[in-house]
Point group: C3
Chain length 168, copies 3
């Protein structure tokens, strides 16, 4: 934990926390496209099971190798996919900076997503797990904002709804 | 996001976050009356569906136009209403300051309320959504605490339990 | 609340918050043993119902009077107990410092634990409630980390699963 304390440069911490919260709020406010601006152009976005992650198995249910690829996926969600109207609500906790290499911070947080179906009002926890992120803070020194170099959602359950159309 | 960073005056942020948490803890510790002191005398407290909010429809399931009106409602809950004993537990995340005008901060956060029935022990998520708050920080400069000028709970589901007797 | 503001020494607050998050992450990452290092050697760890706590009734479902006793319990969990593989996920919110005496801080936070069964993938909220902690910050002045002098999970429901084998 002493490591954590050393890493907790307050300005860095707040900027990172805000980045994590901004991602969640973009999706929850149905501005899903906006998350692409929070990912570095060559950044990676992945949603993978804890089971596969622990065993080094590569299969993920979402895996974008660039912000553009993620943008494509979201456009397909908007235009091509047919699905029941629904809202996500992210509850995020325990943001911690657990490592640092040059301008890249390793960040951990716990997440839960509650999905509400627009028509029936049904609420359901659809995913809980840990975010394992790599955050690039180079822009901070020139007054800019940090971005995700890697954003990985590792969900606890091996089972997932067939339909995970909106990114987490 | 650069906007957010500019707004994130650390002392302001912590005071605002504490105000949000204090509201939740007052209710969860069954000191519901105490939230009236966190609302400005002429402040407004609203619980409204995302559906109505998005369409500018005014119907809300709770709408108090002053701290006194909210106090009345809570007194009625204590004295007049008959309902099964229950506890609320707020889980709040993603507090962000997203705008500022003079001494008023626009604040966003995600919330979830889990209700536990006292007799049966049943736990249930009764509401998830976003808080859209206006926080008055004028008192900070004289060592005082911020208060809510507006506190609005926008819940994701169109459906709500008939019984929402305790304020969120 | 003015009290809270006075207590919110920023460096203290962040260290305390990190301690609370570290506990959660240790368990969620299946490094349960690590929580013993976050508890003072003569510290106390308790899991008790709100019902009993409110009435001063002593019966708790877990009650360790030292870090070593907690270590024993976890070893028994690893070696002796037979139970279905499962993961915990803590969602923690509303960390507040509500009192201070010498080097001991009174800390409150809300928690929720979602349990995912490893085989079936079933997700379930198994406990929600409040943490009532006493945190020793003496080590901060010499560059060390705070530890829990007391860590008490007060859960809202009177009913609990027979099986609470992993500590909260």
């Amino acid at each position: 934990m002493s490591l954590n304390m050393t890493l907790n440069n307050e300005a860095h911490f707040r900027a990172v926390e805000n980045l994590v919260f901004e991602w969640a709020r973009s999706i929850d406010e149905n501005r899903v496209e906006d998350v692409c601006n929070l990912l570095a152009p060559a950044g990676r976005y992945t949603v993978i099971s804890r089971f596969n992650q622990d065993r080094g198995l590569p299969l993920a249910i979402m895996d974008s190798r660039s912000a553009d690829q993620l943008r494509d996926r979201i456009m397909s969600m908007r235009i091509a996919n047919v699905y029941e109207p629904q809202h996500y609500r992210h509850i995020v906790s325990g943001v911690q900076i657990v490592g640092k290499e040059a301008n890249l911070l390793q960040v951990r947080s716990n997440y839960m997503v509650v999905r509400t179906m627009d028509l029936t009002g049904d609420m359901k926890i659809i995913s809980v797990g840990q975010c394992q992120d790599l955050v690039d803070i180079s822009a901070l020194s020139t007054g800019g904002d940090p971005v995700f170099q890697e954003r990985k959602f590792v969900f606890d359950s091996r089972v997932i709804e067939t339909l995970l159309i909106i990114p987490l």
